[in-house]
């Protein structure tokens, strides 16, 4: 772990694994939620209402960030595996995976937050 500061390729690997496991956890919860559909419209709509509260909205934002990070870094890793950009791998992580990821996150998160605030 001591190389995290110096060699960001290892940071990228840790980020990829942690985000991946978090997404698996989300997938589990998501499948469970879809099962709620079978309990009929009232039960389902009631379940959906709980997802409107601020805690869930914050978790949703966290999910969004996790997906973007994992996806962009995954693209970076695939490029590296194909032999593209190895000399720039550090920049690829911080500028593209994290930097552009942050831009995409804000592009999606700001409207989401505004819409949620408008509704409540």
């Amino acid at each position: 772990m001591k190389y995290l500061r110096q060699f960001s390729g290892q940071t990228a690997q840790v980020v990829q694994r942690v985000s991946g496991v978090l997404l698996l956890v989300y997938l589990f919860l998501h499948v469970r939620t879809i099962h709620e559909l079978s309990r009929g419209p009232e039960a389902f709509d009631a379940a959906l209402l709980t997802f409107r509260n601020p805690l869930f909205k914050t978790l949703e934002l966290g999910l969004f960030a996790t997906v973007i990070l994992h996806a962009l870094n995954g693209i970076r890793i695939t490029l590296i595996d194909l032999g593209i950009g190895q000399e720039r791998q550090r920049r690829l992580f911080w500028v593209y995976s994290v930097g552009i990821g942050a831009v995409i996150f804000l592009a999606g998160a700001i409207p989401l937050v505004l819409a949620a605030m408008q509704r409540s």
Binding site: L24, H35, L37, S38
Partner: protein
């Protein structure tokens, strides 16, 4: 050959997931005015999911995501050689079973509508 195919497949499923996720996200949150407003409701979702084409895409999404994710977990385990060959094989078996059960559970959600 199994190892190299598995390595390539992790990248291929990753790329597939990007496409499937984009499609899924668009369908769930942007396809109709109602969804764009954030008015998710039983009606909106149920009417779409009853359609076998959407079911196929959603189930494909689930299966690809499960393979990609559980294979990823398996690679994390393989990096820790100190837990030994037997334990690694046992955990791999658990991951396979978990994957099958999880996939079945996901598909069940559609059959119960």
């Amino acid at each position: 050959m199994r190892n190299v195919l598995s390595w390539y497949f992790q990248r291929i499923t990753g790329a597939l997931l990007l496409i499937l996720l984009a499609a899924h996200f668009w369908v769930e949150h942007f396809m109709s005015a109602e969804l764009r407003r954030g008015d998710l409701s039983y009606q909106a979702i149920h009417s779409r999911i009853a359609n076998p084409t959407w079911q196929f895409i959603d189930i494909a999404f689930l299966l690809v995501a499960l393979w990609h994710g559980l294979n990823g977990v398996r690679n994390i385990i393989l990096d820790y050689s100190r837990i030994g060959r037997r334990a690694t094989q046992a955990i791999s078996g658990v991951l396979v079973v978990a994957g099958v059960v999880w996939a079945w559970w996901g598909i069940e959600a559609f059959r119960n509508l």
